[in-house]
């Protein structure tokens, strides 16, 4: 070690704070930078990448098989409309109910919980960050990762699912309802990341084992179609489903158990979801402010 005084570094840091919005932005930028370095393409998140890329890989396979078929004498076996409904089914049953749910759980619940388990959260708590700013920075970092993964996966899958139809698919995309459907799917995906992200960030702060809470939310979301109208509305999925461009029919015998509820209009669903996410984030920030470093020792 050198015996040079640390004061040689020189600046009186106590005077360096102005608590301005500009400084908060710089601090959020600092959190974002570190979190993205830790979160993006980390080994720990391999299963999340598998969840995001799984359907995309299957659809690439589907495209290649259909390309082979279309070169044969019989051509493709299904219509473009059927592919569109198939994608709507994949989106609702896989992306919204499983992949996005668990992917967001993996990303957001770990933003605080993993740091507790790895005993590194105190480094953040010992910087002059308001805990609200820390929550915002971590949430934004998680959101960026989730959006890149899931919006990218959904967009890639949608663009590929009818690709084997060639010009007809291009026509459907650019002059038919395709582009608008793609936009809706991307919007719903982004909103799911925002909503589930806020839910799981809060679970990660409040619970020692956020995955038990996540399992309860998952069961709740799973039984949502069969719940009474009133209870149906307490669900992220309920609002997201109403924004999906193609409705997926519930197959018998489950269709008889489904309770009919008017879907919320766009102007309620989107701001409503954003408002719920904001409330959850505010609660998370308050909880983080009162949080203590307890690594279970």
């Amino acid at each position: 070690m050198s015996s040079e005084p640390i004061a040689a570094a020189g600046v009186d840091t106590a005077a360096g704070s102005n608590g301005s919005a500009g400084e908060w932005f710089r601090q959020v930028g600092g959190v974002l930078r570190l979190e993205l370095k830790k979160t993006f393409l980390s080994k720990r998140g391999w299963w999340i990448y598998c969840l995001a890329l799984g359907p995309f890989a299957i659809i690439v396979l589907h495209w290649l098989i259909e390309l082979q078929r279309s070169r044969g004498a019989f051509g493709g076996r299904h219509s473009l409309g059927e592919d569109s409904i198939a994608f709507a089914g994949i989106f609702l049953l896989y992306y919204l109910r499983a992949g996005l749910f668990f992917g967001c759980m993996g990303i957001f619940a770990n933003l605080f919980r993993a740091e507790m388990l790895e005993k590194t959260l105190h480094y953040y708590f010992l910087t002059p960050l308001r805990r609200e700013v820390l929550v915002a920075g971590k949430y934004l970092a998680g959101l960026i990762v989730a959006l890149v993964l899931w919006v990218g996966s959904v967009a890639g899958s949608f663009l590929l699912i009818g690709r084997h139809f060639g010009a007809a698919w291009s026509e459907y995309l650019w002059h038919g309802p395709g582009a608008s459907q793609l936009g809706s799917y991307m919007l719903v995906t982004a909103l799911a990341c925002v909503g589930y992200g806020a839910v799981f960030l809060m679970c990660g702060i409040l619970f020692k084992n956020p995955f038990i809470a996540a399992a309860i939310v998952w069961v709740w979301e799973g039984i949502n179609p069969f719940l009474p109208s009133m209870l149906k509305k307490i669900s992220v999925l309920f609002y997201l489903k109403s924004l999906c461009p193609v409705e997926v029919p519930v197959p018998p015998p489950f269709n008889v158990m489904v309770t009919e509820t008017d879907p919320p209009p766009f102007w309620i669903a989107v701001p409503g979801l954003l408002a719920v996410a904001a409330i959850l984030l505010i609660y998370s920030a308050i909880s983080a402010k009162n949080a203590e470093i307890s690594y279970g020792e």
């Binding site: 070690m1 050198s2 015996s3 040079e4 005084p5 640390i6 004061a7 040689a8 570094a9 020189g10 600046v11 009186d12 840091t13 106590a14 360096g16 704070s17 608590g19 400084e23 710089r26 601090q27 930028g29 600092g30 959190v31 930078r33 570190l34 370095k37 830790k38 980390s42 720990r44 790895e118 005993k119 590194t120 105190h122 480094y123 953040y124 708590f125 010992l126 910087t127 002059p128 960050l129 308001r130 805990r131 009162n290 203590e292 470093i293 307890s294 690594y295």
Partner: protein, 313 residues
């Protein structure tokens, strides 16, 4: 509350039913203060409370006039090197310090300059681009020290900072702590290595089972323990003569001749009376005295006196 003191006012902290610290009132001035006590005595609890990582169940804490529940103000003037030997995954020594300096809202250039200065300070510049995970224990300890102090804090809190350091790094670290103390910073150190605590401390806080059992300058604390005999080592040419004179005194509990026949270790309840007697013996019999020194005027002895022989730290 004073803007130049760290104060605890009737602070208690319980972990459920378990006592962390109880009814602690302290006022810590600038300089090096050592927290001494066995495991579970409350040293880390005290440090965690002061740095806002945990909150008191009762009482108030102020660090240079700032309550610890305002990290945005407190952490600009406080650096804490905690005992946890954990680091963010996949990060190099440089990135570790630089990334957390960014949270202070400094520019890139300023963060870079301070990161390099602090790495230089702890002698890790050569290893700056290596992952922290590949560092030795001593290097990890040093990079933690660099990270905790890179923002040039006025209060430096160090939980067992000498753990894992080799003797050279220890003496260099101690030199740095002394320098910070001499600059008027508050340096709080917890340590089990008591002879080093003796070397570096301006004052000590002795803790046992969540209570502060003594505080102040170590010599002062020792002199307050009146009922405990003090050990004094005398090197002289005729220790037998001195011993025979000493045994006539009530305050002398024990006197042992050293094996080489040139010294005497005695235990007395009244050091002042002993020193007067020694002067008389020198005058009366021409005793040649080489040295006289308290043999137990250190933290360990004081601590053992205070909390019992079985509680060595």
């Amino acid at each position: 509350m004073s803007d130049n003191l760290i104060t605890f006012s009737n602070v208690s902290r319980f972990y459920g039913e378990v006592l962390g610290i109880n009814n602690v009132s302290l006022s810590i001035p600038p300089g090096i203060t050592s927290l001494v006590g066995p495991n579970g005595s409350g040293k880390t609890t005290l440090m965690n409370l002061m740095t806002g990582l945990i909150h008191p169940t009762e009482g108030e804490i102020s660090v240079l006039g700032i309550p610890p529940n305002h990290p945005e103000r407190l952490c600009r003037l406080l650096g804490y090197c905690a005992q946890f030997d954990a680091f963010p995954k996949g990060i190099t020594g440089y990135q570790f310090i630089y990334s957390f300096l960014r949270m202070y809202g400094m520019s890139d250039a300023e963060c870079d300059r301070r990161t390099r200065a602090s790495l230089e300070l702890v002698g890790l510049m050569q290893a700056a681009e290596r992952p922290v995970a590949a560092y030795s224990k001593g290097m990890r300890q040093r990079v933690k020290l660099a990270q905790a102090t890179a923002h040039d804090p006025r209060v430096v809190v160090l939980d067992e900072p000498l753990n894992g350091l080799d003797p050279l790094a220890r003496s260099e670290a101690i030199a740095i702590f002394r320098q910070w103390g001499a600059e008027g910073r508050h340096v709080l150190v917890s340590s089990h290595i008591l002879h080093e605590v003796d070397q570096i401390s301006d004052q000590v806080i002795l803790l046992s089972q969540g209570y502060v059992v003594a505080e102040g300058q170590i010599q002062g604390v020792r002199s307050e323990v009146k009922e405990q005999p003090m050990q004094i080592q005398v090197r002289c040419d005729r220790p037998g003569l001195l011993a025979s004179r000493l045994f006539q005194q009530d305050h002398v509990v024990e006197a042992k001749l050293s094996p080489d026949g040139k010294g005497l270790l005695l235990r007395t309840r009244d050091a002042d009376s002993f020193y007067l007697l020694l002067n008389r013996v020198i005058l009366d019999s021409g005793l040649e005295v080489e040295s006289v020194a308290p043999a137990d005027d250190d933290v360990n002895s004081v601590y053992q006196y205070l909390i019992g022989e079985g509680s060595s730290v």
